[in-house]
């Protein structure tokens, strides 16, 4: 009701430029501004304005410890490409985000299938499924670091019992990287499963019954019915989680501290180190800007995927 009357007035207002908006319309605008402004101010003050600042800082040699703050053009960006820590972080960030998102989506779908099946203990499974999502990432990081400890950890102990060989995780770059990716999947797949499960529950059961009558097996039913209907969710989640993982360093901070060397460092961790620990504001801002660009590129790819998919569907 409100919308339609507002629009009529708006059109009328445009046609007869002299006519002032009615009192009711002005009142609605004022109310809208009043209610939305706290949220907008918050977002503007702590997200939009700082991001603009970040981009501006990235062109300055702003450093609290050295006391410098001059415009230096693209020098920070030139330094990025030769910085050992940043190069290592960039490599692993891309590797980590791509691998853990894809793996997370697959495992998430598998968990959702399980949670959607009919069996005793389903409620229990659905409840504990929320644990990995809900516990603090930093705590999960430390718990797995201890669980995988090469001397006293449970997993290396089991590994040795079974194979007779010792298992070294965090000293080996490959092992450490695999650990970060797998623990990320442990933490993230259950969340994806919750969303996929909701999507699966919305699929009418008749579809499955009909397919069964026609002789489709479980595998075919999954690929021909479940997947096409859940696919938009999969793309949305993939996009959402990619952007989210790009910006977070909690897991790496706890699990490996970025090591060995910089094998498991991520851009977000480098921003924190350079900016907050070493107060190299300009340099940290240049890394942030690169991260922002990465987010933008992924956003565009995601949108393209989404549109392409919707057209094909």
């Amino acid at each position: 009701m409100i919308t339609s009357s507002a629009r009529t007035i708006a059109i009328a207002g445009r046609r007869f430029a002299i006519r002032m908006p009615s009192r009711a319309t002005r009142r609605r605008y004022a109310l809208f501004a009043l209610l939305v402004s706290p949220a907008l101010l918050l977002r503007f003050g702590t997200a939009v304005y700082p991001i603009v600042q970040t981009i501006l800082y990235s062109f300055r040699n702003f450093s609290l410890l050295r006391g410098t703050d001059e415009f230096i053009g693209l020098k920070n960006y030139a330094d990025l490409s030769t910085n050992y820590g940043v190069r290592g972080a960039l490599t692993f960030t891309v590797m980590y985000v791509v691998a853990s998102t894809i793996l997370g989506l697959i495992v998430g779908l598998m968990i959702a299938q399980l949670l959607n099946a009919n069996f005793k203990g389903r409620t229990f499974a659905r409840t504990i499924n929320l644990i990995p999502w809900a516990i603090p990432t930093i705590v999960a990081g430390y718990a797995f670091r201890w669980l995988l400890d090469d001397q006293f950890g449970l997993i290396p102990y089991w590994y040795q019992q079974i194979t007779g060989k010792s298992m070294i995780v965090f000293i080996d770059p490959g092992g450490a990287r695999l650990a970060v990716i797998l623990v990320h999947v442990w933490k993230d797949a259950p969340f994806m499963a919750v969303v996929f499960l909701a999507g699966m529950q919305g699929i009418p059961l008749d579809l499955y019954e009909a397919a069964k009558v026609d002789g489709a097996n479980a595998w075919q039913r999954f690929w021909k019915i479940t997947m096409p209907l859940v696919a938009p969710l999969v793309i949305t989640m993939g996009l959402f989680r990619t952007v989210w993982s790009l910006a977070s360093f909690d897991l790496v901070y706890g699990l490996t501290s970025g090591g060995p060397g910089v094998a498991t460092s991520v851009l977000a961790l480098q921003i924190f180190r350079e900016g907050i620990l070493f107060f190299k504001f300009g340099f940290a801002s240049a890394i942030s800007t690169v991260l922002l660009l990465l987010v933008a590129v992924i956003g565009l790819i995601g949108l393209w995927l989404y549109r392409k998919f919707e057209i094909a569907y």
Partner: protein
């Protein structure tokens, strides 16, 4: 004969399905619960029991680690800070988001759709990319190393998603109820507080729980903006305990004790409000 065979066949098929499902269930439970078991077991053990070979699954339980934390780090202060920070963030986020969500859902004006879209898009701005300017902004307002500063910053981060979910909850409330109240002369605060609020309680509870968990777990902001125990939270304290070497290596029993302290309230919340959480997590993605 034919009928008998079909029945046999079907019987066997269901059985295989069930076995597969239960196998997956067992694997799933192990993968989820083993790390939790390991953490709890370590938190309630003395240090010497953790480094024993062969490995002891269930050492003698003790509360010594928690006492040690209280004695050696300002553990109670950290815990109090975490609680205050999480509650304050939850409340601020809910209030700010509820007001905005009502406006976006009901007071449609020209451009409000685009504004909402831009607002939601700001979720994609990486929060870690803003910590340097935020550090300076907070210090200019004397909010560095205060819970107030942390609350403002995190509330802002959590607001877009909360608005998104609340808009869809408010839209589900039939407008006729408000309309009737407005015709009867109800003011805006009355409509917001007395009429719409009770009808959107499920949405508010859901987002309250999710935001509480997010704030309780948050590491980035306290790690970046807290300097002293005045505003440090449990998430920071676990990193500090980790950094403190003991002669035997990392003090894993203490690290895990902090971990357990952080996980207990979260687990209770999950048990009490599993349905509400799921509703919130899917509220945005599933229509």
């Amino acid at each position: 004969m034919v009928a008998l065979q079909t029945r046999k066949h079907r019987h066997r098929a269901t059985n295989w399905n069930a076995i597969g499902t239960y196998a997956a269930f067992v694997v799933f439970c192990l993968v989820v619960l083993v790390p939790i078991f390991w953490m709890v077991r370590s938190a309630f053990s003395v240090q010497s029991d953790l480094t024993r070979t062969p490995l002891v699954y269930l050492p003698r339980p003790t509360l010594q680690n928690f006492r040690m934390l209280v004695d050696q780090v300002p553990f109670l202060e950290y815990t109090r800070n975490s609680i205050v920070f999480a509650l304050a963030t939850t409340i601020v986020t809910l209030v700010v988001s509820y007001l905005a969500a009502y406006a976006f859902a009901r007071l449609r004006i020209r451009g409000s759709g685009i504004l909402l879209w831009a607002f939601l898009l700001s979720m994609a701005l990486p929060d870690v990319g803003t910590i340097v300017p935020l550090y300076r902004i907070l210090s200019r307002f004397n909010l560095l190393d205060t819970i107030t500063g942390l609350t403002v910053v995190l509330s802002s981060t959590l607001t877009p998603f909360t608005v998104w979910v609340l808009v869809s909850f408010i839209k589900q409330v039939p407008y006729e109820i408000e309309e009737a109240a407005i015709i009867d002369g109800a003011s805006l605060p009355t409509v917001l507080w007395r009429i719409v609020l009770p009808l959107t309680t499920p949405g508010l509870v859901t987002m309250g729980v999710i935001n509480f968990i997010n704030a309780w777990n948050n590491l980035l902001y306290p790690l970046s903006f807290s300097v002293t125990p005045a505003s440090k939270t449990l998430s920071v304290s676990i990193t500090e305990v980790f950094a403190g070497y003991s002669p035997w290596g990392r003090p894993w029993e203490l690290i895990m004790a902090v971990g357990v302290t952080m996980v207990i309230p979260i687990t209770l919340l999950i048990l009490v409000s599993q349905k509400a959480i799921v509703r919130g997590l899917t509220g945005g993605a599933v229509k």
